[in-house]
Symmetry: C2
Subunit: 360 residues, 2 copies
DNA sequence: TTGAAAGCGTTACCAT
DNA sequence: ATGGTAACGCTTTCAA
């Protein structure tokens, strides 16, 4: 029926008098109709100028761009989304920021999403119960896809499938569900750590696990235990932390109570707890590291490289993993029916000074 | 002219047959027309049911909610934004994530924005040159407001004003421009640190500044120098870091070269550099802290509290500041013409063990 | 290549 | 309280 636009957009009119680009007072937003009027072309032409690969004559393009610049016009992405049925949003779900290496992950993911031409809609999920609320917003804002660094249960995953919104998990795997994910190879990393520790002669191990509901920490812990068993080491003391530094300190003392003084090595599910263990061992128990006790972590967060620590750990290739996650998502936004894929990245063993390691 | 909707939305029709909520296959998104048809009411009524405070009879509400639930309907926020002219987006601009305390800030801001009923559109600005691109996206997505933890120049600020998009700065102040901001009271914090250090008898000071273009570090550094001068201490050695841990290490050695062995106290523009200074001093130069050297930082980032450091620093009240930033923004979204306001928060002096302090 | 008109899914404003 | 229709700002046919 042809829209009847505001005959006279006062903001635009004011700007017409100016010659400075985008510094004019503009009470109401400039639309393509305003630009069309100034450029003396149709609104369709304005649209085409801002549509990559559309056919417009050089003359029209010139006039439109001049008018647009003069008025400070930017196409309204919201209106565009409505008609194209693609929001251009990627939902980014991240959990409580206890993880030391999250800032890196976040900034890499954000960069990747921007580079892919999408916008980041950020949701921090502090507790599991918030997830449903967050999902509601995701649906309302018609996100094209989601990168999740949080837990999603089976029902929630089904809802993604029904709505045909692709999800890629970052370092999380929903249990019993084939889903697309990029993760560091937890098992392989633990295997290498354990092998090298055992090769150095360690026999009495303590393990500091992460939160009970965290699949990542569970997998790391279980891999470590399995590998120790492989080496004939069956009795291992296990305590659980919450991924935070303080819980590493507590875990160390708990281990000492349970395992006694002949504890030789502590394997932690992440770096933050490992640093806590190191501090408790050295500064509270008076142990020398690594002479009296070896400590290893997982992730390769920045503080683990600081001089006070020199933590021996498995470094995640964060940038590559983030890029992969984005690439896998982009692929699935374009072709929603690609089958789920799980991509495993080998971490790099960082030989710090917090553990005595034998030959690989 | 009255929209003529898809007469038969196949996805919705399929779902009608099911009784499970939201688990049915749905090739195309469910709209309010689909819900209206199933509930046997007008589309307007559906809209009202999802509009808080609109008048609908209990009977209609019941039928609509039942149909909506059955179809897995969620109102399309994008379409809503188009007509209401409010996107519900708050743009969050954060810089390179070198700052240790950014994770906390980010998660607090994100929470605050969600609580205010808005969505977070995240932009990480790795370099100044990206800012223009980011702003373009902000305009296109019609953000209701922006919280900026990055630098914006005068022209960019003018553009915000012209477009009537309110900005609140977090710990940044654009030079020579009245803008709304929430910052920790850098000057007051440095003053307290310096006073206590001087009271303990320190006379030979070194200062580790931040990046040259960073107003925050500039203000901290200059406040410190001014306060030292107030105490009659005029000759101070100043070196510049980049806010990162490693630059703290480098800064320490640079200070020693320039100031010599009688350096007594090092005042750093942030915690990360202070931790680098501590490590370099203790582990590379063999100094005892605080007996041979006092070190103080600024921010109160988590690692500064770790046992290995116990950094004496000024802790930002991050939560309160984030809440204030969000509140100030929300206020300005509602009433765009409120005058700029700068809110200063006093930091808390954390008496760690990295510095000898005299009586306050 | 260009312009006119139809729609994307919602809210706003009318009548009833 | 309810239903009908106009509009939000854009992209996308379809003719010319």
């Amino acid at each position: 029926m042809g829209r009847k636009p505001r005959e006279n957009n006062p903001g635009a009119v004011m700007a017409e008098l100016e010659d400075t680009p985008s510094t004019a007072a503009r009470p109401t937003a400039v639309t393509s109709y305003d630009v069309a009027r100034v450029a003396r072309v149709s609104q369709s032409s304005v649209s085409r100028v801002f549509t990559p690969g559309a056919s417009v004559s050089p003359e029209v393009r010139r006039r439109v761009l001049r008018a647009a610049n003069q008025l400070g016009y930017q196409p309204n992405a919201i209106a565009r989304s409505l008609i194209t049925r693609r929001s251009g949003f990627v939902g980014l779900l991240i959990g409580a920021s206890t993880n030391l290496y999250y800032p890196e992950v976040l900034s890499e993911l954000s960069r990747g999403i921007s580079d892919a031409g999408s916008r980041v809609l950020l949701f921090t999920v502090d507790s599991e119960s918030e997830t449903e609320t967050v999902l509601t917003h995701l649906w309302r804002y018609q996100v094209d896809g989601v990168i999740a660094a949080t837990r999603l249960d089976a029902a929630q995953l089904t809802e993604f499938a029904n709505r045909r919104v692709p999800v890629v998990f970052y370092n999380r795997m929903p249990p019993d569900n084939p889903a697309t994910a990029v993760t560091v190879d937890h098992a392989e990393g633990e295997r290498r750590l354990i092998d090298r520790l055992v090769a150095a002669g360690h026999r009495r191990f303590g393990i500091v696990g992460g939160p009970a509901d965290n699949m990542v920490s569970l997998e790391r812990t279980e891999s470590a235990i399995a590998r120790l068993r492989h080496h004939g080491i069956d009795s291992v003391t296990i305590v659980r932390g919450d991924y935070g530094y303080q819980s590493g300190i507590d875990a160390f003392h708990a281990l000492r109570r349970e395992a006694g003084r002949d504890l030789q090595a502590v394997v932690c599910a992440n770096d933050a707890m490992a640093l806590g263990v190191m501090d408790a061992a050295r500064l509270q128990a008076g142990l020398r590291i690594p002479q009296d006790l070896s400590v290893v972590g997982f992730d390769g967060a920045e503080p683990s490289r600081w001089l006070s620590y020199g933590l021996t750990t498995i470094r995640q290739p964060v940038r590559r993993m983030a890029e992969a996650a984005v690439a896998m998502l982009v692929e699935r936004i374009a072709k929603p029916d690609i089958e789920p894929e799980r991509r495993l990245y080998a971490g790099e063993l960082v030989e710090g000074i917090s553990a005595r390691l034998g030959k690989g």
